[in-house]
C-alpha cells in the first residue's frame, strides 16, 4: 500500500509531546463470535480534537461508546484523567448522531437534562442552560420544542446539553451527519472556535475525510477486519491560518488525498 507520502507530512514519529486526557489501552470488543475491536490502543491529547475516521464497520462508534462507558469492552481498559472508566461519568459528555433530544421537553429543559440528573437546583441549571443556549446561537428558542427546530438547530441543542455539564471530555458520534452540507460547514467552523475557547478534549467520530482533516488536531485512521488503528496523522501547518484558508492549504489537500488513497481499497 502506498502510504509513505502521508508519513512525510505527519509528526507521527515524534514522541508524545502532549499530556493525554484519555488513554485507550488494548481494548477488544466481541459480539459473540464477531470481533468488533481487537487490541486497540490510542492516546487522546488534552485540549485537542481527535477524529476517529474510517470506513463503515471499522468500529469507530463502538470505540467511542466504550470510552463513554455505554458499552463494556471485552478486555482492555480506558483511562480518563488517569482514572479507569467503569461506566458513564461526570468527566465525559456525549453528543449523539440522531441528537437524542426528548421530544416532549422544551429546548431549555433538554439542555438542562444533564444538570438535572446531577441534582443541580432548578434555577441554577436554567441559568447555566440559558448561557449555553446563547453560546450555540439558539437564544430566543429556549421555550421551543425539538420538532419546531431544523435538524441543524436540534444538534446545537444536543451540543449545548453536552457543554452545559462542563465535562473535560466531549464525545461526538458523527454529530453532523444528519444535517445538510451548508449547516455542516457552519458547524465545523463553530467547532474549531469551540476547541479554541473551551479547554476541553474532543473525540469526534466521522466518516467524512474532509471534515476530519478540517477540524482535527489529530486524526486516527481505523481500518476494518480486523479493526485496528492503521495510522495517526497530525496536521501541523494550517491549523492557525484561520477557518477560511484551511480548505485551500496544500497540506490540507495532500492529507485528504492521501487518506482517500489508503481508504479506497476498503470501500465496497
Amino acid at each position: 500500500m502506498a502510504m509513505s507520502p502521508i508519513k512525510e507530512v505527519t509528526a507521527q514519529t515524534t514522541p508524545m509531546e502532549f499530556e493525554s486526557a484519555v488513554s485507550v489501552r488494548n481494548i477488544s470488543k466481541n459480539y459473540g463470535d464477531v470481533e468488533a475491536l481487537r487490541d486497540m490502543s490510542l492516546e487522546f491529547p488534552r485540549g485537542q480534537l481527535t477524529s476517529l475516521l474510517g470506513p463503515s464497520g471499522c468500529g469507530k462508534t463502538t470505540l467511542l461508546k466504550i470510552i463513554a462507558g455505554l458499552l463494556e469492552p471485552t478486555s482492555g481498559q480506558v483511562e480518563v484523567n488517569g482514572k479507569t472508566v467503569s461506566g458513564p461519568g461526570k468527566d465525559r459528555a456525549f453528543v449523539f448522531q440522531d441528537f437524542a433530544l426528548l421530544p416532549w421537553a422544551t429546548v431549555i429543559r433538554n439542555v438542562a437534562f444533564g444538570l438535572e440528573m446531577r441534582g443541580v437546583a432548578a434555577s441554577e441549571r436554567e441559568a447555566i442552560a440559558e448561557k449555553y443556549i446563547k453560546e450555540v446561537g439558539l437564544a430566543g428558542f429556549e421555550q421551543s420544542y425539538p420538532h419546531e427546530l431544523s435538524g441543524g438547530m436540534r444538534q446545537r441543542v444536543g451540543l449545548a446539553r453536552a457543554l452545559a455539564v462542563d465535562s473535560d471530555v466531549l464525545l461526538m458520534d458523527e454529530p453532523f451527519s444528519a444535517v445538510d452540507e451548508q449547516t455542516r460547514r457552519k458547524f465545523q467552523e463553530d467547532l474549531l472556535n469551540l476547541v479554541q475557547i473551551e479547554n476541553k478534549t474532543f473525540i469526534f467520530v466521522t466518516h467524512s475525510i474532509e471534515e476530519a482533516v478540517y477540524v482535527s488536531d489529530q486524526i486516527a485512521i481505523l481500518l476494518p477486519r480486523p479493526s485496528r488503528v492503521s495510522e495517526i496523522i497530525r496536521p501541523s501547518s494550517f491549523r492557525d491560518k484561520g477557518v477560511d484558508n484551511i480548505r485551500r492549504d496544500p497540506e490540507y489537500l495532500d492529507i485528504v488525498d492521501n487518506i482517500w488513497a489508503s481508504l479506497r481499497g476498503y470501500v465496497e
Binding site: 462507558g69 455505554l70 437524542a100 426528548l102 437534562f113 440528573m117 420538532h147
Partner: protein, 253 residues
Amino acid sequence: MLNRALLLKLLSAVVLFGAWEIAGRIPVSFAFPTFLESMTALFEMTMNGMMFQAYSETLRPLAIGIAISAVLGIAIGLWVGLNSFFDWLFSPIFIVMQAAPLAALIPLLVLAYGIGLTSKVIVVCIMAMPVIVLNTSGAVRNTPESIKEMGQSFLASKTSILLRIVIPAASPVIFAGLRLGISAGFIGAILAELKITPTGVGDIITYSRSIADYPSMYAAIFSIILLAVLFLNLLEKIEKVLFKGNQRGYVSD
C-alpha cells in the same frame, strides 16, 4: 380550505341522514323509521329524563371496567415491557386474548358471576385490557435506544430513566392503547347489556323492539354510537394536543 372540508363533512352528513329519511319514508321495511321520527323519539326520551337514567346505568360498568383495565393494563404492560421474563410468560396470553373472540366467554361469566354488575364489568375488562397491555408493553420495549443511552451517559439513575425517559417516550402509544381499549370497552358494555341482562340503554333497545316502538329503538342506538364516537374523538383531540411534538418525525424529517 377549512371551509371546504367542513362543507363536505356537512354535505356527507346530509347525504347519509337524507338517505336514511328517504329509506324510512318509502319504507324499506316496517321496522325502519325515518331519521326525523328517530330524532323526535330521541328528543322526547332526553326531555323526560329516560335517557339520563339509562346512561347512568350503562356507563357504570363501562367506567368501572375501563378504570380497572387502565390501571391494571398499564401496570402489567410496563412490567411485561421492562422484564423479558414476564414478557415471555405473559405476552402470549395477551396476544391470544387480542386475537380471540372473547365474547364467547360471556355465557361462562354469567354462570360464574351471575347477571349483575360484576359480570358486566368483567366483560368490559376482557374486551379493553389486552390492547392496553400490548400497546403499553410494545411502546416501552420500543423506546429509542439512543435516548436511553443519552440518559445513561448523562448519569440518569435507573428510576430516572424509567420515569423521565421511558414512560414519557411511551406515553403517546400508551394513550392510543387506552383509546382503543375504551372503544373495545364500549362494545363490551353494550354487548353485556344486550346479552346478559337488559339494563340502561340496552333495556331501551330491547324493550322498544319488543313493543315495536322502532323510533325509540333507533334513537337509543343512535345515541350510544354518537356518544362513543364523540367521546373517542375528544380523546383523540386531547391526544393531539398532549403529544404534539411526538406526532411529527423528530430524528430527521
